[in-house]
Structure formats: structure tokens, C-alpha cells
């Protein structure tokens, strides 16, 4: 299994899109930090990049990569290898190389300009989001043979997680405005890894605004030891469940 991971990683890390992605992140991060007059403002601008671009690139690149590797996967399947280990190697290869690209592109500038808890949290969340969206992409890709359809699903999923979900939440909030929704919001935030990641970063960053009533509840929850464990567990579940289901599907899939 390690062997396949190694080769998949070398392949992806030499991929032009991944190189462009890394360079894009590098340029954005450095320009954001050098243009903004204070570093925490730079971090905020970078936050938007991380929350939008990282999931987008991760999900679309992984989907396309899986489809483009269809024949290669077939070849691997014809070899004396377990399907499970092929799929997991592919996942590990994709996840680790995209995380690596993110770390080089955004992690290093952040560590240079903001070597503190916010910076570390941001890098951690960025890496987790990369991995989560690789997992989701692989689940989307294993569901359908049609490449165009698969990419379409991937884009829709990204749109859902970064935009539609929030719209839905806003709609629900106004529909149930008369009920105390602060605590259910914590549960709802667990349904979207992007939201969860954003809240975790903001709790380190925009402390003043987050100390309003709702923010205080978030802070009381996510700021504690148990809350931290909870949120990271949830993020790990967001990796585990798609990987589990996609592996199961791939095991039974006709190639």
C-alpha cells in the first residue's frame, strides 16, 4: 500500500494544477500579508481564501484525478492487490499531496507572519478541509461512471457546503426566530465542515465580536477542552464517513 501511495504522491506533486495551486496560495498569502497593514487583517483575508479555494480545488482536482486515473485504477485492480488498499492508497496519496501543497502555499507564509495559535489553527483547519474534501470528492467520483456528471456533482457539493448550506441555515434561523437556537446552532455547525472550521478559526481571531451572546455560547462550547475534542472529532468523522462509504462502494464496483 505504501508503494502505491508513494507513486501517487510523486505523480500528483508533479501535476501542473497542483503546482499552480501551490504557487497561487503562496502569492496570495504573501501579498495578503504584505499589503494589509496589520497581520491579523491579512489572516482574515486569507481565511476567505482558505474557506473557499481550498475546498474547491480539493474537491474538483480529486474528482478529475480519480476519473483520469480510471484506467490506471483498472490496471492496479488487475494486479494482486486488495481493492481496499488501492482505494485507500489513492485517497492517502491525494489527501497528503493536497495537504502538502496547502502547507507549502499557505502554511509557510502563515508561520512566517503569524506564528501563533491563530496561525496554527488556520493551518490545521486548512489541512483538515483539504483532506475532507478529497474524501467527499472520492465519494462523489465512485458513485457515477460519467466524468461530466461526477465533476458536476463535485461542484454542486462544493456549492452546497460553501454557500447553499449557509443560506439554508439563515432561512431556518428566520423561520424559527422565536425559538432559542443558540445551542442547536452548535449541532448544525457540525453538519458543515467549512462552517465548523470557520467558527474554530474565528474564535481565535475575532474574539471581540464573538463575545456577543451567541458567540459566548460558541466560545463556552468550542473554547473548552471538550468542545475542542468534539470539533476535531467531528472533522475527523467528516473524513472517515465518506472514505468508509466510498471504499465500500469501490469494493463492489464494476470497473
Amino acid at each position: 500500500m505504501k508503494k502505491i501511495i508513494k507513486y501517487v504522491m510523486t505523480d500528483i506533486l508533479r501535476n501542473r494544477i497542483v503546482l499552480v495551486y501551490t504557487v497561487f496560495l503562496l502569492i496570495t498569502s504573501f501579498s495578503v500579508f504584505s499589503l494589509e497593514d496589520n497581520n491579523s487583517k491579512g489572516l482574515l483575508s486569507l481565511l476567505n481564501v482558505i474557506l473557499i479555494v481550498v475546498p474547491l480545488v480539493s474537491i474538483i482536482f480529486s474528482t478529475i484525478y480519480v476519473y483520469n486515473s480510471a484506467e490506471f485504477i483498472e490496471l492496479l485492480v488487475s494486479q494482486p492487490l486488495k481493492r481496499k488498499s488501492i482505494w485507500l492508497s489513492l485517497f492517502t496519496g491525494l489527501a497528503s499531496s493536497l495537504s502538502f501543497a496547502f502547507f507549502i502555499g499557505a502554511g509557510i507564509p502563515v508561520l512566517l507572519y503569524q506564528p501563533n495559535s491563530v496561525g496554527c489553527m488556520m493551518i490545521g483547519i486548512g489541512i483538515l478541509l483539504s483532506v475532507i474534501f478529497v474524501a467527499i470528492a472520492m465519494l462523489a467520483a465512485v458513485q457515477t461512471r460519467d466524468k461530466a456528471k461526477g465533476i458536476g456533482i463535485a461542484i454542486l457539493l462544493w456549492l452546497y457546503f460553501s454557500l447553499l448550506f449557509d443560506g439554508l441555515v439563515l432561512f431556518l434561523l428566520f423561520q424559527f426566530a422565536d425559538y432559542p437556537l443558540e445551542k442547536p446552532m452548535i449541532a448544525i455547525s457540525a453538519l458543515n465542515p467549512i462552517d465548523l472550521g470557520r467558527i474554530l478559526i474565528l474564535l481565535q481571531l475575532d474574539v471581540s465580536a464573538m463575545m456577543g451572546y451567541t458567540g459566548a455560547i460558541f466560545k463556552d462550547f468550542f473554547g473548552t477542552y471538550i468542545g475542542g475534542i468534539f470539533s476535531f472529532t467531528v472533522l475527523l468523522i467528516w473524513i472517515g464517513i465518506p472514505v468508509f462509504f466510498s471504499t465500500r462502494k469501490f469494493n463492489r464496483k464494476d470497473l
Binding site: 508533479r14 486515473s69 484506467e71 490496471l75 494486479q79 464494476d254 470497473l255
Partner: protein
Amino acid sequence: MIIASNVSKQFGKLKALDNVSVACKKGECIALIGPNGSGKTTLIKSILGMVVPDSGFITFNEKNILHDWKYREQIGYMPQIGRYPDNMTIGHVLDMMKDIRSNSLQTDEDLIKAFKLNELMHKRMRTLSGGTTQKVSAALAFLFDPAVLILDEPTAGLDPVASEIFKEKIITEKQKGKLVLITSHVLSDLDDLITQVIYMQDGKLCFHKTIEALRKDTGEEKLSKAIANVMTKN
């Protein structure tokens, strides 16, 4: 060596394999022939475990291949379209395959030499022509000296010289007592190679005969003519 019993497979409404039973033995070189969409590739994929039959079973050396993967150590497979990760070099691909099958110590690098792939080792896969990629696939299939060779449209992209080298390789392997399964549209290529013919249509196995029997039945010497004869009869 490979026995398929009553294998059926359906993709949506399409019956790709309909109650196919076939037995392949050592030392045979079998041509799997049929029109497009007749289920040849599905049969091959079933044998390789890429497609799981809806009903029926396939055994390899008397062992059911379902949920097994070890048996593939004895198979060399050359796919119809070989595509490899864009940024790997030929060397990488070969190394990776050797890594995967690290337990087979002996490698058969005849084809690598014959196709002069040694000089191209550092080339990225995306820069290769279709023919060269096909050569890589062929070399990979033979690399581990497997007992069974499954070749899906092997000569499609190869130039005449390479094609000839390839055929000779198949013949030598056949003589070593290996089982070779070939699908091809270019029937003229198969003439000197094969010992048996499996003809499929609409997912059904129409016949499985030795080449001599086929020639006798149709009265044609050339395989292409013989098959044409069969097809018009049907």
C-alpha cells in the same frame, strides 16, 4: 485453469454476460472474438475480478476468485487502453509494478529490451504516443512471467515491427505452456497464434472451438474469413 460457470452480468438493461460457461486450460491460446458490445471485455474483467458477476462463479486453479486477490499474481493483463498517471515516467511505472509484485523475483524484461523502452525510461507518461504507451502495457503484462496472459486488443496501437515482436513473444510464452487469452478485432493478426476460438454475441457464448475445428466447419483457412462465415450464418 480458468473455469467460468454460468456467469451472468447485467449493466442496467444491458445483458453483458448471459449464462456464459467456459473452460481454459494451460498451453492454450484463446482468441476471444465477437462484435462490439458482445461482452468480451466484460468476460475478461470478470476473470480479473474487476467486474463481479451477478450469478455464476469463476474459478482459477480450482479456487473461486470471489473476494480473492492473490490469484492475480499469476495473471499478466494488458488493457485495451493503457493510461498511466501523467507525471510518472516509464521507469516509475515499471518500478511501481515491481514494488507491487515484490515477491516475484524473476522478471522477464524481453519486451522492454525488444521495444527499446530502456532508452525512454525517463519520459513522462503524458508525453508518450499511444503506441509507446501500448508497448509499456505489453511489457508490464509479460514482466512477471505470469502463468496466464490476458491481452485486450493488444496490437491495436502497435506499429508492424512492434506487432511482430509482440506476436513472437506470445508464441514463445504459449510454448512455455502458458494460457493466453486475446481479444482482437484485427483477426489477421491472430492467425498464427491461436489454438482456440471463443465467439461471443450479445453476451452469449456462441461457440468455443479449436481453430482446426473451426476451419473444418467453415471450410475457410483464414481466421477472418472463417469468422465472417460464422457471422453471416448467424
